[in-house]
Amino acid sequence: MVSINFYLGLAIILFTIGALGVLIRRNSIIVFMSVELMLNAANLAFVAFARYWQTMTGQIFVFFIMTVAAAEVAIGLALIVTIFRSKDSIDVDQMNSLKG
């Protein structure tokens, strides 16, 4: 039986890589993927805790996180498509005005 600390450590590493991606990349689609990676790291921690506390609550929470992530992706990608139409670029540095 692998100790829970290994799972939490892996979740920490994946979350950090996701945060680094948000900070370092300019392509807004990659930034968005990094956000998904961070959500996924949180999911891993939730499921690990659910396993070790022997309770289903963590898994139910992961279910809800997945739903919210799906909604977030639908809206976010729609926003990116709209921004690309008006600015002809998805570089995050170009997005410096609220008015299209």
Binding site: M1, I4, T16, A19, I24, N43, R51, I60, F64, D93
Partner: protein, 169 residues
Amino acid sequence: MTLQMLLFLVLALVAIASALGMLISRNSIYSALFLVLNFATVAVYFLLLNAPFIAVAQVSVYAGAIMVLFLFVIMLLGAERAQQTQSIPWQRPLAISLAVILLLEAGFILLGQRGVVPLVTSELPAGFGSPAQVGTELFQNYLLPFEVTSVLLLVAMIGAIVLTKNEKK
């Protein structure tokens, strides 16, 4: 070293390498495919942690639906080879040092055991994490959040349609 530990380490290597590959590849499509690999390895972890329902949902929702949407948008915009513009010179070293600080902080908390970490127990109640138990839990204790979720998805759907509607000016 037990077989489970070996499996964990190999999968951890794949997960971290694919996450880094997502981060550093120049082509957006390669990034998306690396992320699919990462989601698949995390799904295997869910199986190891006795969460088969969540694992299948991970593969079908994340690696299936969400990443197909990503790939579709990348190809629609034709932005798979967007050049990296670097306008702030100190941004990259600053970002890397902040990430290292975050990693060290979280590792310090984890290794210092400042928090409630459950004891390792290997025996589980029968049917733990099965679809039947997930369904029972969802509809008995979390019925209202489940219904609110449907409203959330409806709003997301309408929002996406409204945002991308091409208005003639």
